[in-house]
């Protein structure tokens, strides 16, 4: 009898303990993973412009938890620790959801007045509309000036980072959104050249369709890849100036340019794989790799995917700017900002100085598979695709990406996604145009 009673007590104790463990695990594990600090190897800080970071800690918040991006982040930590060996870096990462989980955690911390020293954020309106307008950020213009970076970065990038005459974050990398990737073998077998305009695209697509190949691979489960395709189509049908105008209200969403872009998009949807709504972007890229599909329009992280499945850039797959967008570079960028009330402000400024330096960017980007946001990156560190992207980045017109936070606020992007969700299914141009116009008005940009 007594024994039985004891069993209940033990079971109950175990249950309580496990609940406690789960509760603690949930609260702790995803937010703070301590970074093993390297023993001091290098000499004292060599850069006189950096703020005096002599000790204490530095908490960096990001969603880079795995793969090349985590390695890249660690490479930057290494540089930082080399310069400031007494600063203990706390690597606060939140995994999952392409950053949406991290953003939710960040919002909670910022709202409760507990900001990290610096956090990863998409450069442009995602930062500006969410945090700068709310008065939660410090400008970093002075860091740019002190280090003489203003002429090291393209003006288009500085414009995207700026709001009310100040720069608000330090970009560490650049990705390009408007790239058309194609399977070289499929194109050669069918005697085709990669299309440069939408007329050529449709001509090529008809031939591919006749040959039994899906012309364009799309994986829009979760809809953002449809937005991604749409921004390339918008740019391709109206050119960079009008495209930029879409995001400040000077191009009319109700006008003929948007209408023609939507009509083109609806036509493009006739050439995509039937199961597009069930796939993700990497599964769509896989269709191109397998030769089931000939092309896909995706950001240049697709190159990282192709390389990870052992395809050779320029040999197995090729790339051109998406139709009608040659000479323009839709950029998106991960950047780090300086929240007001950062507990270790000096260390954070030193961190931002590393992020924006040539050394820091050339350590991060070859691992992440992106190009430096500066124009003076060391070309020899990058592969053949990234070199071509670096060339384009220097010479092309730079415009912001909608899908990836550079062009518009998160609220606007979400509203745009909802319009696109209906549009990919009903292809109703008039309704989509009306919805997009309303999204711009609701975002407070259009009248």
């Amino acid at each position: 009898m007594f024994k039985k009673y004891m069993w209940y007590v033990v079971m109950a104790a175990l249950l309580v303990a496990s609940i406690l463990l789960v509760a603690c695990g949930g609260a702790q594990a995803p937010t703070v993973t301590p970074q093993p600090t390297k023993p001091p190897v290098a000499t004292k800080a060599s850069q006189p412009t950096a703020a005096p970071a002599t000790g204490g800690k530095l908490e960096i918040f990001s969603w880079w938890t795995a793969g090349g991006e985590a390695e890249g982040l660690n490479a930057m930590y290494k540089i930082y620790n080399g310069k400031y060996p007494n600063v203990k870096i706390v690597n606060a990462t939140v995994a999952g959801g392409a950053g949406s989980n991290a953003k939710a955690v960040l919002a909670t911390r910022m709202q409760s007045g507990d900001p990290p020293d610096s956090f990863q954020v998409h450069a442009g309106h995602e930062l500006i509309d969410s945090w700068v307008k709310a008065g939660k950020m410090e400008p970093v213009t002075s860091i740019f000036k002190e280090n003489g970076w203003l002429d090291r970065y393209p003006k288009g990038v500085i414009d995207i980072l700026s709001y009310k005459g100040e720069i608000w974050s330090v970009p560490v990398n650049i990705h390009r959104s408007n790239v058309l990737w194609y399977n070289k073998k499929v194109f050669a077998d069918n005697g085709l050249k990669p299309p440069t305009t939408f007329d050529e695209f449709f001509a090529v697509a008809d031939k591919l369709k006749a040959a039994g190949v899906t012309p364009l691979a799309l994986g829009d489960n979760g809809i953002w890849t449809a937005n991604h395709l749409m921004e390339s189509v918008l740019l391709g049908s109206m050119g960079p100036e009008k495209y930029k105008g879409l995001w400040d209200g000077s191009t009319d969403w109700n006008g003929p340019e948007v209408k023609s872009a939507l009509t083109t998009f609806a036509k493009v949807m006739n050439y995509v794989n039937e199961d597009h709504a069930a796939l993700s972007w990497d599964q769509a890229a896989q269709l191109v790799a397998d030769g089931d599909a000939a092309m896909t329009i995706m950001g240049d992280w697709a190159e990282g995917y192709f390389k990870s499945i052992k395809l050779k850039p320029g040999v197995d797959f090729g790339w051109v700017p998406s139709p009608g967008t040659a000479g323009t570079f839709i950029m998106l960028s991960d950047s780090f900002g300086l929240p007001k009330g950062a507990p270790d402000r000096d260390n954070a400024i030193a961190w931002l100085t590393v992020c924006g330096s040539k050394e820091g960017q050339d350590a991060f980007n070859p691992l992440k598979g992106s190009i430096p946001a500066r124009m003076d990156g060391d070309r020899s560190l990058y592969d053949v695709y990234l070199q071509s992207a670096m060339d384009d980045f220097k010479t092309n017109k730079i415009v912001p990406s909608l899908t990836h936070g550079a062009a518009a606020s998160e609220g606007w992007v979400t509203a745009f996604s909802d319009v696109m969700t209906l549009f990919v299914s009903d292809k109703d141009v008039a309704a989509a145009q009306q919805g997009m116009t309303k999204a711009c008005v609701d975002a407070g940009v259009c009248k």
């Binding site: 949406s100 953003k103 939710a104 919002a107 910022m110 709202q111 509309d129 969410s130 945090w131 307008k133 709310a134 899906t214 829009d220 489960n221 979760g222 809809i223 794989n273 039937e274 199961d275 597009h276 709504a277 069930a278 269709l287 397998d290 089931d292 606020s409 998160e410 609220g411 992007v413 979400t414 509203a415 996604s417 909802d418 319009v419 969700t421 209906l422 990919v424 299914s425 009903d426 009306q434 919805g435 309303k438 999204a439 609701d442």
Partner: protein
């Protein structure tokens, strides 16, 4: 007397922690959500200025544009999902329970097998069902479509959860989701019915048999009426799961093209945590709460009354 009073105090103190926790973490936050739903909080910064019922109006009237359209699709989806999910669970669950009640050998094994899906997380099964019903296309068919192709039933192949066609407001793409959800909870319904069947005294059946009733008649006139309270409980439990379903749909299909598999939970999550429309998200939550309340409250009243009668 003082002894009784002391006991009452001890009892009160024992339940006090859970009362406090419930008050704070359930009712407190429901109240807070309701307050946010009446505010103008749009963006990451809290803004509690009064908006009245404006957020509700925007979800239900044409002024809301795409949001209103999405929400009306969501409500229809919830209605059809709940309807078919409940029907499937009740009918198949009852059927399985009756089969298991025939005193067959190895009953324990079957019971465990049927009940097992319930012990898995919706997130896990959602991912697997997503693979099973992935349509594929052309020469690279997947999941069920590949199976149908292999056994020569090509006519039955379709686009499953990516199909955008509908009968009136019913999107056919919901079918795979209904199948997945039912698969997971049929075993649970079966267990409830089985318990109900076992609680019916054997004497009743014997008496009916002696009176010359056929087995069908026994089920029709004795067993099914006696299972009514079980059906009611099952409807309540399953109904509130289906009205606020999120995880299964989110991992299995997402909102789908044209919102064919969207539900209010996904809309709430996206608008709040991706679009920063906190007030709109709170409004959707409150509407979901009201929908569940419509189902639960009559049941609570009914069972309280019964307790009093007893």
């Amino acid at each position: 007397m003082s002894h009784a009073r002391r006991e009452r105090w001890i009892a009160f103190i024992m339940v006090l922690p859970s009362i406090l926790l419930l008050a704070l973490f359930v009712y407190g936050f429901i109240g807070w959500t309701a307050a946010v739903s009446l505010s103008k909080w749009d963006g990451v910064e809290p803004n509690y200025s009064w908006a009245g019922l404006e957020n509700f109006r925007l979800l239900f009237s044409k002024v809301g544009g795409v949001s209103a359209r999405r929400f009306s699709i969501d409500l229809w989806n919830t209605l059809f999902f709940t309807l078919f999910f409940l029907l499937l669970c009740i009918i198949v669950g009852l059927f399985l329970a009756i089969l298991l009640d025939q005193k067959i050998r190895g009953e324990g094994v079957f019971r465990t097998i049927y009940l097992f899906p319930m012990s898995l997380s919706f997130v896990v099964t959602g991912v697997v069902w997503r693979w099973i019903f992935a349509p594929g296309a052309g020469t690279r068919l997947r999941g069920v479509n590949a199976l149908l192709h292999a056994i020569g039933l090509n006519a039955l192949r379709w686009k499953w959860y990516t199909d955008t066609s509908s009968f009136g407001p019913f999107h056919v793409a919901l079918t795979p989701v209904i199948i997945a959800a039912s698969w997971q909870l049929i075993g649970y319904t079966m267990a409830m019915y089985l318990a109900g069947l076992r609680s019916i005294p054997e004497e009743l059946r014997e008496a009916a048999r002696v009176d010359g009733a056929s087995e069908v008649k026994i089920y029709r006139h004795i067993i099914l009426p006696m299972l009514q309270p079980i059906t009611l409980s099952a409807l309540i439990v399953l109904g509130h799961i289906s009205l606020k379903i999120f995880d299964l749909v989110y991992t299995m299909t997402g909102k789908g093209p044209g919102f064919v598999t969207d539900v209010p939970g996904i809309f709430m999550f996206e608008t709040t945590f991706q679009g920063n429309h906190y007030a709109q998200g709170a409004t959707i939550s409150i509407i979901m709460l009201l929908m569940v309340a419509v189902v639960i409250i009559p049941y609570l009243i009914y069972s309280f009354r019964r307790e009093v009668e007893l």
